[in-house]
């Protein structure tokens, strides 16, 4: 049987380079573009067909998804600050969701199964939270390292712990998404391999599993996009409100 991780390999299709860096376009990039185009296309379909007070079916879907993210942003970041962060948070949700879902099409690629991609986004969000924190609170932002109600004697211990927990945030954020996407696709690949390499008498069993796991994977695509988004909200909310 082939290496189940083989399909995560990336082979450049169009070779490009910018200032000495290789920025070749690969299947992963094209799949991402297709996913993002579908997201933008659907939104434009809603907008171009006229956004009405009494909505059509597609408009209801768009409204529900945006309303859902809006509620989430308002809950964790606060109603006053929410409009400022809403477009960014909503774009993160639709970006992750589109990349997760487009990978479910056989022969396509899930760019979120690349740790380097999820890592860049998680690090970017982490740096953004630091930036917001310092811009909002100045040097008081260091107060985030001391949870309220901690005895003074505990502070020297608490600060390193809090620093570690802060740094763990982008790590866990990126690894969670990457691991979920990689694991799901690997399991699917292994089960397909089993289904193909065993006689039909036994082979229908792993094949049946692939059908079930496919459904589960679609659910996971949504859940992971949701988790990634909600944690982004929580992190931004934390640095705005400081405990």
């Amino acid at each position: 049987m082939e290496n189940p991780l083989h399909h995560f390999e990336i082979h450049p299709i169009v070779h490009l380079s910018l200032m000495g860096f290789d920025i070749s376009i690969s299947k992963a990039v094209i799949a991402m573009w297709v996913g993002l185009s579908i997201v933008f296309g659907l939104f434009m379909l809603v907008v171009k067909s006229g956004v009405r007070l009494i909505p059509g079916k597609l408009q209801i879907v768009a409204e529900i998804s945006l309303g859902f993210i809006k509620d989430m942003v308002e809950e964790f970041i606060g109603e006053k600050e929410a409009p400022k962060y809403f477009p960014f948070i909503a774009t993160i949700f639709f970006f992750v969701l589109a990349c997760n879902l487009i990978g479910m099409i056989p022969g396509s690629y899930t760019i979120t199964s690349q740790l380097v991609v999820t890592g860049v986004f998680a690090t970017g969000i982490f740096i953004l939270t630091l930036f917001i924190g310092f811009a909002k609170h100045g040097l008081h932002f260091f107060g985030i390292l001391v949870p309220p109600g901690v005895p003074k004697i505990m502070i020297p211990i608490m600060i390193p712990i809090e620093i570690i927990s802060m740094i763990a945030r982008p790590v866990s954020l990126s690894v969670r998404l990457f691991a979920n996407m990689t694991a799901g696709h690997t399991i699917l690949y292994v089960l397909f391999g089993l289904a193909m390499s065993t006689p039909l008498m036994i082979g229908w069993l792993p094949f049946g599993f692939t059908v079930a796991i496919n459904g589960l994977e679609i659910a996971i695509a949504f859940i992971q996009a949701y988790i990634f988004t909600i944690l982004t909200c929580v992190y931004i909310g934390d640095v705005i409100h400081l405990h």
Binding site: E9, S26, V29, F40, V47, R52, Q59, V116, V120
Partner: protein
């Protein structure tokens, strides 16, 4: 694992994912989110204002209902008073007209009685003079001789008295 080993594609993945994210962010923020969020807000405001309006209308309707009830009660009371007054007035008019009629009837009765009395007296006088003449004539004829004036008078008076008694006994 290729995700850790294929270091050469990292630049391309980071570059394109960030660029794509930035473009998607710009496009969605510029074209997609505002109209949809606007309509969400518009609907929310519309629902809120319509609920407010409905509440206001309900309160107004309740006020109107109370006013109408009060006015109806007033009108009822007024009507009752008018009916009462009309009843009193009609009773007064009735009593007055009965009184007037009674007075009139009494007057008419008195007039009639007076007239009867006058007529009776006139009749009696006429009878008296008639009877006197008759008695005189008849007495003259009966006794065929003249009587003295005193006899004449006595006879006349007797005759008159007789006639009167006769008349009274007959109930004239």
């Amino acid at each position: 694992m290729p995700q850790f080993e294929q270091v050469e594609v990292f630049h391309s993945l980071i570059f394109w994912s960030l660029i794509s994210f930035a473009i998607l962010f710009f496009l969605l923020k510029r074209f997609a989110f505002p109209p949809i969020l606007e309509v969400l807000e518009e609907r929310e405001n519309k629902i809120r204002s319509e609920i407010g309006d409905a509440e206001k209308l309900r309160q107004e309707a309740e006020g109107l209902k109370a006013d109408l009830g009060r006015e109806l009660k007033n009108a009822h009371e007024k009507a009752q008073t008018i009916i009462q007054m009309a009843g009193d007035e009609s009773k007064k008019i009735q009593e007055k007209s009965i009184q007037e009629t009674q007075v009139k009837v009494r007057q008419m009765q008195n007039d009639a009685e007076q007239e009867i009395q006058i007529t009776r007296n006139k009749l009696l006088n006429e009878i008296r003079s008639y009877t006197a003449a008759l008695t005189m004539a008849s007495t003259e004829k009966v006794i065929k001789k003249s009587l003295s004036d005193d006899d004449k008078k006595r006879l006349i008076d007797e005759s008159i008295e007789e006639v009167l008694r006769e008349m009274e006994s007959r109930g004239v």
